[in-house]
């Protein structure tokens, strides 16, 4: 039995401790916003936060998240997270949309550390998130927009 906090709720799951957190989120907790894209930390679709750090949940055994705070897209309520979602909607970033929650979760780490990220910062933060539809131009634009929204105190 493994206890962890997910989106502010304490949960106990009865799974093989080696089960990647991704599958615990999707199958045991029915949180479907975190996606499976490669299973090898090569695409970023599975990105969540563990104790505030970005993690590729497809390679993190759930035992390594025991006792920690996990945040998924469904629980991304901090102001910069809300700004990102708003900017993503304003710019109509998603095409097929499958990678986008992972993109947002990665971008959220950047905005926590940089109020006004440069293009080089965005390059450095987002290289792990593949978008096959190549919405990269709009992802970049939405991160800048979200940073502006967050600085301006927009909701």
């Amino acid at each position: 039995m493994i206890t962890l906090e997910v989106n502010g709720r304490s949960v106990v799951v009865d799974v093989d401790p080696g089960t990647p957190l991704l599958w615990v989120l999707r199958e045991n907790l029915q949180l479907m916003g975190t996606k499976y894209g490669c299973g090898a930390a090569q695409c970023g679709s599975c990105t969540v936060h563990v104790d505030g750090n970005a993690v590729r949940s497809c390679v993190l055994p759930v035992s390594a998240a025991a006792g920690k705070k996990v945040t998924t897209i469904e629980g991304l309520t901090e102001p910069s997270g809300a700004a990102l979602k708003q900017a993503w909607i304003e710019l109509d970033v998603p095409q097929c949309g499958y990678c986008q929650t992972g993109q947002i979760m990665s971008a959220a780490i950047l905005l926590r550390q940089k109020r006004q990220p440069s293009d080089a910062d965005i390059d450095a933060c987002m290289g792990g998130n593949v978008c096959r539809c190549a919405t990269y131009v709009r992802i970049r634009g939405a991160i800048h927009r979200a940073a502006a929204l967050a600085r301006g105190g927009a909701r």
Partner: protein, 713 residues
Amino acid sequence: MTLDVSRREFLRVSATAAGGMLIAFRVPAAPATPTPPEPEFAPNAFVRIAADGRVTVIINKAEMGQGICTSLSMVLAEELDADWSRIGFEFAPVDPVYAHPGFGIQMTGGSTSTMGMTEPMRQAGAVARAMLVTAAARRWGVPEADCATAGGAVAHPRSGRRAGYGELAAAAARLPVPDGVPLKPAAQWKLIGRPTPRLDTRAKVEGSAVFSIDVNLPGMLTALVAHPPTFTGRARRIRDAAARAVPGVVDVVDVGSGVAVLAKGFWPAKLGRDRLEVEWDLGEAATLSSEALRQHYRELAGRPGLVAHKAGDVDAALAAGRVLRADYEVPYLAHAPMEPLNCVVDLRADSCEIWAGSQFQTVDHAAAAAAAGLPGAKVKLHTTFLGGGFGRRANPASDYIVEAVKIAKAAKAPVKMIWTRTDDLRAGYYRPMWHSRVAAACDEAGAITGWRHTIVGQSIIAGTPFEPMMIKDGIDSTSVEGAADLAYAIPNVLVDLHTTKVPVPTLWWRSVGHSHTAFVVESFLDEIAAATRQDPLALRRRLLQGKDRLLGVLELAAAKSGWSTPAPAGRARGLAVHPSFNSFVAVVLEVSLERGWPRVHRATLAVDCGRTINPGTVTAQLEGAVGFALSTALYSAITLADGQVEQSNFHDYRMLRLHEMPAVDVHVVPSEAQPTGIGEPGVPPVAPALCNALFRLTGRRIRRLPIRREDLA
């Protein structure tokens, strides 16, 4: 939820000489047999209006990122004069009424959704509007001509009366459905042509959009499948004791296409599959290698093939004048959608429900029913959002659907079959590898007098039910499109084809034949320009006299990219223009080398795709096409050795990433022509534009994709 669906078919008219499609259609009327009373107004298969005023548009296309759920909703909402804030959509069930007006089956592909469905959706909305007006006019005892519609309501200005569509729904539902009504003139459009936020964005941002991989059913098992290592392989012997011993594994089943491990979740299924021991008969594909195929193709390119197009006497032209020759090669390509293929099947004794991101409903549905051993009427295929399609989810063989149904048959429980990324990359149905041998003759004035293009590669259509339609006199039209129908004015042309038979399954891939022919044509044309000391733009202008739409995008891209001005220091520009799917796209890329590797700084595109429904979608599709095509120009290849696919994940089937994406400027040629494709036409010109820029930068000509470092050294 049932819909009033009719059984009338759409009529189909074949392509015009100009390459456009004329589509005649009829919006289906209500069926003869009465259906149970509904609280909603559903005059046709494409719209439903609820008593509370909510409008649901039924989308008969797969939403794979191209924005079609919004575009078609806009078109219907425009004619309906709906309140856009009350518009929602659902994906259509499988029914003949939802068939593609041009192709006669329910499917999404060929960049034809907007082109094919705009008029039917307009009619559907207009008919509903007309009936609501009739209902209101009757209720108020006023002439219909005195009524107006706007924002989801009918108004009678003279008396100040107003009724929302919801209020009128029940009354409208009792009226006969007219056979066809006049449409709004374009000058009155409020929605069509305006950038409109997509209806699916919020759900995709919040993570609530449902892809088939997200569907869960009570008691569902998850299946991972061990596929044979070669395309002709079959399991000879299975040792599954260790697999079955993994806690959570429920069963192991040989379904022919592979050995499935069924478990209570992805992870136990994966652990079980890891412990499966299978002896495979490898079959004839065991000796396949990309190297051997390349040699074989190169050799075939030296021999005359089947003639796909002939004009004048190319042999005579090549005998006189100065001749340039080149060989071009491109590899197999996987589609690699971000959502790997998967399918959910709930198969019972006498019914079956399937969830899949299908681009090929009619075909998939029929294949599923056959695999399930059930009549079609007992099988429901629910189309979800697609996490990328690119043509992979439109497979005449319905490979992953059939596999899932077979597993479900053995499972006796609902099954979610998931292909891992590796499974997805190795499962075949690739864009074929191609070899092109080109030769061109030029006269002293630099005019091209002869052009010969020999193409070697597999037919994606052979052996499929589409063969009678798309293979004529042995020529698969998709093998030569973009090559046999050159827009360039060249008097003597010969395009010939060797169709190879290789046991690698192949399929259409975003832009299909154009994905290889444009690379060859636009690169070789640049070689000719360089050899005859002509500016690549000037040469194309010369050869495209009278081809106004092509010239239009070419000039626009050139102007907007600053083509006639020097590129910044260390950079060069490359140009390409290519028509496909009835649209016209020109691309200029501005490129430098960073530590010996191409860096694309800016992409300037000009597009003529007729009238645009949602300009935002057009821009997005072209931005995306640039990134998609650059991935394949720079990185992606599926290669074979000893019959096996060498690639297994994104580390060796590499994708372009954000830091490598150029800035993109898209310029749309305003047009009143009917809307034409946008999902695919951005892809073909990108690779040649890149290689043309690299030639100007390095003097090295790239004739093989993906680009390798040593090609530029």
